[in-house]
């Protein structure tokens, strides 16, 4: 990669696979279970978190030398809250229906452990460019899992992808439904998201034995 040095690209690529915030660090599970019943919601959530964490990391990194360490958590909260409000307002303005589906979970990005975790662990100790890459990478790792879970849940639970009826029409009985196929209602319930997530973790760890803890 010409644009990024090897170290920098590692910052982005590592959280996508071997250091994924959801499957390895097991952070941000709550929103991953709650909003992944539809692929579209997952994608929007992923983009929101990328925006918040990317910008937030840079802001915190720029301020890292002037924040008194006693009140750093509060400063971090203010930064992330401001960013989340912006994201929330943008969503409400341009895609009101979707913001209703995501409901409280956009606001709850504030409490997403991944964000505070990256502020604390990375942005407070590194420069803005590196922090930006780290933020994008971690948020993308989070988003990737969200999108995988959302893909399976929407496909198997509703028979659609992004709202398109890819498996046929369940009422008109076309496509797969003509053969007697039915949507799996369990997929729309949160417990199934946990199981899908578990299967992803299972597959990842069986492919990379180094990740297995005793």
């Amino acid at each position: 990669m010409g644009l990024l040095s090897k170290k920098d690209s590692k910052l982005i690529l590592d959280p996508l696979t071997d250091n994924n915030p959801i499957t390895i660090q097991v952070l941000g599970i709550c929103s991953a279970l709650a909003i992944t019943a539809q692929l579209k919601a997952s994608i929007v959530m992923a983009i929101s978190v990328i925006a918040v964490l990317g910008v937030g990391n840079v802001v915190i990194s720029l301020m890292r030398n002037i924040i008194p360490s006693k009140i750093r958590i509060i400063v971090q909260l203010v930064v992330v809250a401001a960013l989340v409000i912006i994201v929330d307002q943008v969503l409400k303005a341009y895609s009101y229906e979707l913001s209703k589906t995501l409901s409280v979970f956009v606001g709850l990005i504030i409490t997403n452990c991944i964000i505070m975790g990256r502020f604390e662990a990375f942005a407070l100790a590194n420069g803005p460019w590196k922090s930006f890459l780290d933020g994008i990478g971690n948020a993308a790792g989070y988003g990737l899992i969200l999108i995988i879970v959302g893909f399976f849940r929407e496909l198997l639970g509703s028979g659609t992808l992004l709202g398109f009826k890819v498996l046929g029409d369940p009422i008109e009985k076309t496509g797969l439904y003509a053969l007697g196929y039915e949507n799996n209602g369990f997929m729309l319930l949160s417990p199934m998201a946990l199981i899908v997530l578990g299967v992803i973790i299972w597959i990842q760890r069986s492919r990379n034995k180094a990740l297995i803890e005793d």
Binding site: G180, Y181, E182, N184, G185, F186, M187, L189, I195, G198, V199, W202
Partner: protein, 408 residues
């Protein structure tokens, strides 16, 4: 060469290869192998895992056969070809070849799919993880067809079996390591994934769904339907069956769960062969009776009146809850699963009592899940290790106290 030596040489041929566990399992399933272990201390007993499993299956066979007759009987009754039974358990209207054949052709495919898919998954995991095939699925495979509605599509059953065996059992390490009863995991999956096929008034009578579709397509037929007693009671309807019908099992329901008489016989067989725990069976029944009595008292004290939506189920006499729905079947064949139940004798009393208690509670207060026994057993499966922990800790404390008294 006999089949046995053929199997043996097959096994020898594949020794050390990836497929070895599969051939091993086939050989030892059919015959006792000739090769014996020579060193170490061994306990010789007639009961191995396979014999334990086979005993449970034998106890379930009467329920299976009865289920076949009952499937045909419910169908013919709903269509109007025959009259309802009048003369007790051996009524001639019930035990006809016609009834049997209708059920036979519906249930045998369910059994084949259940065993085929389930054992397929077990073999696959044994080959991948390179361990011997475990016999744990033998009982599950027979339980599954007995606890589903007659008209369940075969592919749904296959999907549920794959889910139940993989997520319910293999991820925890296979037979003996599972937290939840696999058969109930499979049923719970079906229940939440495909609720239209697991409840309502169309799935319990063979052909009812098909007929509804035919009518929708323009066929000139009468619709048939049949609801489980619990389903209709939950909607506040009158009880449409006599107590003897419920006890003998001439009622709609999942395939093998209807006949309380045969389940009790199976249960006695399990107790006699010391496979099933009488403590769990007895304490579950006690739990259900206590809960039923409490609700009966609530009704007779006038706290709940007929205007309440819980009235019909609450006012059902407590002893009738024992012969309604899948309670007896669940308690005898699934609560007693030695892997997922409590292991300590004292723990078994708590475990069973709570199963009975919670089953009736769910039955009455949640009309969406009229059969509470499935959820009650799954819930208590989760708590069984905790119960055991406290029983053991209690025992340790008691003994320590005794020790202190002596030393003091």
């Amino acid at each position: 060469m006999s089949l046995k030596s053929n199997l043996h040489s097959l096994k020898e041929k594949y020794k050390g290869t990836k497929m070895a566990p599969a051939f091993n399992a086939l050989h030892t399933f059919l015959y006792t192998p000739n090769d014996t272990t020579h060193n170490g201390t061994h306990i010789k007993s007639a009961d191995d895992l396979k014999r334990t499993m086979n005993t449970v299956i034998m106890a379930m066979i009467p329920c299976l056969i009865f289920g076949m007759f009952n499937a045909g009987y419910q169908h013919n009754l709903a269509v109007g070809d025959i009259q309802a039974v009048t003369s007790g358990f051996f009524s001639s209207e019930f035990w006809t070849l016609d009834n049997f054949m209708i059920g036979f052709w519906k249930i045998i495919p369910l059994v084949i799919v259940s065993y085929g898919v389930g054992l397929g998954v077990e073999f696959l995991f044994a080959v991948i993880k390179n361990h011997e095939v475990e016999e744990g699925y033998l009982v599950t495979g027979m339980l599954v067809p007995l606890i589903v509605p007659i008209d369940i599509p075969l592919w749904m059953l296959a999907v549920a079996v794959i889910f139940g065996v993989v997520i319910g059992k293999e991820v925890f390490g296979g037979t003996g390591m599972n937290i939840l009863n696999p058969a109930l995991t499979i049923r719970a999956f079906l229940f939440f994934a495909y609720p239209t096929w697991m409840s309502g008034d169309k799935v319990w009578v063979e052909g009812a769904v098909q007929r509804t579709n035919d009518i929708a397509a323009g066929a000139n037929l009468d619709a048939i339907s049949g609801e489980t007693i619990l389903g209709s009671l939950a909607q506040g309807k009158e009880m449409a069956y006599s107590v003897s019908d419920m006890f003998y099992g001439f009622i709609p329901g999942s395939i093998g769960e209807t006949s309380t008489l045969l389940i009790i016989l199976g249960g006695l067989f399990l107790i006699f062969t010391k496979i099933g725990s009488w403590r769990i069976m007895l304490s579950s029944a006690l739990g259900a009776i206590v809960m039923g009595l409490i609700f009966n008292q609530v009704v007779s004290a006038g706290i709940i009146t007929e205007s309440s939506k819980f009235y019909t189920l609450m006012s059902t006499p407590f002893w009738q809850h024992l012969i309604l729905g899948g309670f007896a079947f669940g308690v005898v064949f699934m609560a007693t699963d030695p892997v997922t139940a409590s292991q300590t004798n004292k723990g078994k009393w708590y475990y069973g009592f709570l199963i009975g208690f919670i089953s009736i509670l769910i039955r009455i207060f949640n009309p969406a899940y009229p059969e509470g026994v499935m959820l009650a057993i799954l819930l208590m499966n989760v708590f069984a290790p905790t119960i055991d922990h406290y029983v053991i800790q209690g025992n340790i404390k008691q003994r320590l106290k005794r020790l202190k008294v002596k030393t003091a």
